[in-house]
């Protein structure tokens, strides 16, 4: 029982951290492209492009 909760907690935490760091974005992007029949970029180019876009507007507070 405890083991199940620990595994569940770990999985949820891992998913949240992947989401937070942007790691999970690529899978979502691939699904999005598949729905529209487009060829996705490879992971490296997608990652670099996303970061360029993100830091174009991302303000960091003082």
């Amino acid at each position: 029982m405890l083991r199940r909760y620990i595994v569940m907690f770990y999985n949820e935490l891992r998913a949240a951290v992947r989401e937070w760091t942007g790691e999970a974005e690529y899978e979502r992007y691939v699904r999005y492209c598949a729905q529209r029949g487009q060829a996705p970029l490879d992971r490296g180019r997608f990652f670099a492009g996303r970061l360029e876009e993100r830091y174009r507007t991302r303000a960091r507070c003082c």
């Binding site: 949240a16 996303r50 970061l51 507007t57 991302r58 303000a59 960091r60 507070c61 003082c62």
Partner: protein, 678 residues
């Protein structure tokens, strides 16, 4: 059940009121930090439970049946409905910069009380209200930015004034943050090595995430963090090495030039190579350290050494000049209310919310969390011996250049400290000297190291904790500077693109280099000016930054009030009008004093006049005349920037009042698009 609930909330409210009363009324005796923590946590709990609920339900009428931009647009990239805890993490990481740590540390010169009260009450009644309202406003306008909302809701003039204000604030912000780093690293081979080592570590992480294991952020961050911690430990070896230590020991001017070159490189290099990996490192270390500091304070429970109020409430403070009103309230911006948050709340965050009601937790809740960080910073300053606190933070131009002079002056103020005590403390933290280490970062690091060492490891590891704290502060200051320079560069390119189209192309390298140089040159000038300032620079730059940040908050609150008025709920406009009036009174009076005060330590023009008088009277040696002319020019430039800020805000406020009058006098039917975007 209901009675039990009422009972619990009554208890929390009474505990908060009791703690606030204890914190406020204690005089001449040491109190425990428990009172400060209880006052903060209980006030936040009551404010979140009742006031934010009122704002969400009555003022904003947040409704989960209404689609958010993320639900409606859901493009799989920018607009994505995201778990609210993940958005909370993003939002908090973006709003929590060095401001809530540095501002309270500097403001502690007035004693622990003014800063603590302002941080707690300012956040629940002002800062969190601003963040929530701007977030909700942007949420209902497809994630529009503060500038766009100002232009659409107030007018074109207001919109341009807001954009100009943002650019100017970013320039001053980055200069003052650069100055904090210079003061933390000058003459410190350990600190310089550790902070310097984060650059190749970030570059290696960037390369790894781009080419070796594309997109594997967690993997790179884990080994990156391990290397950064190793660099903290290795710094001791460098500082003790006769051949290595001189290679990492720099004068302030050299450090300033290095930061300027670094800022330029960070702006022109690809984001994935330096900026993003540093941001990942910074975000994890930031959150980890803040949690550790909270635990450390709770476990150690140190007594507060600083008095509730010091003699410097009269305006004669050594760290910065000016009376408690208005200067305490502009010294602490982030932590109580910060206009910069409005940029974050109208940036990425509204594009990720899956439900309208999440805006309450993220807008209001994250600001309370930041306020709590500021309370911890004031605790870290307040647990130091006051004499030590003033010896670290007072510039040599005020207290004297030798340890004997400095300790004599500070002891004369009623805060006893001896050269031997300072020498022992410097040796404990692995520094050569802690005198005149202005800027707030070193004294915060000493306070944090004191708390950490008393919780874990004892005095033997105090030096490691001190340099960990310096690395922690420098890391996310540099991240703020990287990101700020880049965003500033894009704003500049956007503007110049209207004059000549190729300059607006963000992929055209001549334009990238030109605008990066322009942005870095602007903040680099103010940074260099601060380094050369005989009073340490913080005296003039931090108030300028505080005024500008609070004026941006005034712009945000004007926009928020306009949204409330236009939505037909003008009867609730007091929620933003109250903080707006308070902010205008503190910023305009502080701005007026910085311009026209006859006291030379406060008024820019008075200081310039005094220097001019010295030259005219022949009291300045010939060799010093060019330097004195430069100081006069800088004073006048600071005065012009202050006047410009004040002018921009008055334009926006007057424009907003005109708009409120137009809406209310016409008794127009509320424009429903203000609450609903179909």
């Amino acid at each position: 059940m209901r009675a039990l609930r009422y009972g619990v909330w009554a208890f929390v409210a009474l505990a908060g009121a009791g703690a606030l009363a204890t914190v406020s009324l204690a005089r001449g005796e040491q109190i425990s930090v428990v009172w400060l923590l209880t006052a903060a946590v209980a006030t936040y709990a009551v404010a979140y439970r009742f006031y934010s609920k009122f704002l969400a339900a009555r003022v904003l009428m947040l409704d989960d049946l209404r689609q958010t931009p993320a639900e409606r647009i859901n493009d799989g990239r920018d607009f994505v409905p995201t778990n609210r805890w993940v958005v909370f993490g993003h939002h908090f990481a973006a709003i929590a910069g060095p401001g809530p740590l540095i501002g309270p540390t500097l403001c502690a010169q007035f004693g622990y009380l003014p800063g603590t009260l302002w941080i707690i009450l300012g956040a629940v009644l002002g800062g969190a209200v601003q963040d929530l309202l701007i977030l909700a406003g942007s949420l209902r306008r497809d994630g529009k930015s503060l500038g766009e909302m100002a232009r659409e809701e107030i007018g074109v003039l207001g919109g341009f004034a807001a954009l100009g204000g943002v650019l100017l604030i970013m320039i001053i912000l980055m200069a003052v943050l650069g100055l904090v780093i210079v003061n933390a690293l000058k003459g410190s081979p350990w600190g310089t090595f550790t902070v310097g080592a984060t650059i190749p570590i970030a570059l290696a992480m960037g390369w790894y995430m781009r080419f070796i294991r594309p997109g594997k952020v967690m993997e790179a961050t884990i080994w990156g963090l391990a290397l950064v911690l190793l660099a903290v430990v290795a710094g001791r070896w460098v500082s003790e090495s006769g051949s290595w230590a001189p290679l990492f020991t720099f004068a302030p001017t050299v450090l300033a030039l290095m930061i300027i070159v670094y800022g330029f490189a960070a702006s022109v290099l690809p984001v994935w190579l330096l900026l993003a990996p540093r941001d990942y490192l910074s975000a994890f270390i930031k959150i980890g350290t803040i949690v550790a500091l909270a635990l450390g304070i709770v476990v150690y429970m140190p007594p507060v050494q600083l008095p509730a109020l010091t003699r410097f409430t009269d305006g004669s403070g050594p760290i910065f000049a000016g009376k408690i009103f208005p200067f305490a309230f502009i010294t602490i911006a982030c932590g109580a209310i910060s206009g910069f948050h409005a940029l974050v709340a109208s940036g990425t965050t509204p594009k990720l919310l899956g439900k309208e009601s999440d805006a309450r937790m993220i807008g209001y809740g994250a600001m309370l969390m930041e306020s709590f960080v500021a309370v911890m910073a004031i605790i870290a300053a307040a647990v130091l011996q006051p004499g030590v606190y003033f010896a670290v933070n007072s510039p040599a131009g005020i207290v004297g250049t030798s340890p004997e002079q400095a300790t004599q002056t500070i002891s004369g103020w009623g805060f006893p400290v001896t050269p031997a005590e300072m020498e022992t403390l410097a040796a404990d933290v692995g520094e050569r000297s802690l005198f005149a280490r202005t800027g707030g970062a070193p004294s915060l690091a000493v306070g944090m190291a004191h708390i950490f060492a008393n919780t874990l490891g004892g005095k033997a590891v105090m030096a490691i904790w001190y340099h960990f704290a310096i690395m922690f502060e420098a890391l996310f200051i540099l991240t703020t500077m990287d990101a700020g320079t880049r965003v500033g560069r894009f704003m500049l390119q956007d503007f110049l693109g209207h004059l000549w189209e190729p300059l607006g192309r963000t992929s055209w390298y001549p334009s990238v280099i030109l605008t990066s140089a322009g942005m870095v040159g602007a903040w680099g000038y103010f940074l260099y000016q601060g380094v050369m300032d005989p009073l340490g620079g913080i005296n003039s730059l931090w108030p300028l930054f505080g005024i500008s940040n609070q004026l941006l908050a005034a712009i945000a609150l004007s926009v928020a009030t306009t949204l409330i008025v236009k939505s037909g709920r003008a009867r609730y406009a007091w929620v933003t009008l109250g903080p707006l009036c308070w902010l205008l009174s503190i910023t305009l009076s502080a701005g007026y004093q910085k311009l026209f005060s006859p006291e030379v330590r406060i008024g820019f023009l008075a200081h310039a006049g005094e220097l001019q008088g010295h030259i005219a009277a022949g009291e300045v040696p010939a060799a010093k005349i060019p330097e004195t002319h430069a100081l006069i020019f800088n004073d006048r430039l600071d005065a012009a920037v202050t006047a410009l800020f004040m002018g921009l805000v008055l334009v926006i406020v007057v424009d907003a009042v005109r708009e409120w009058y137009r809406v209310l006098s016409a008794r127009q039917v509320p424009q429903q698009r203000l609450t609903v975007t179909a």
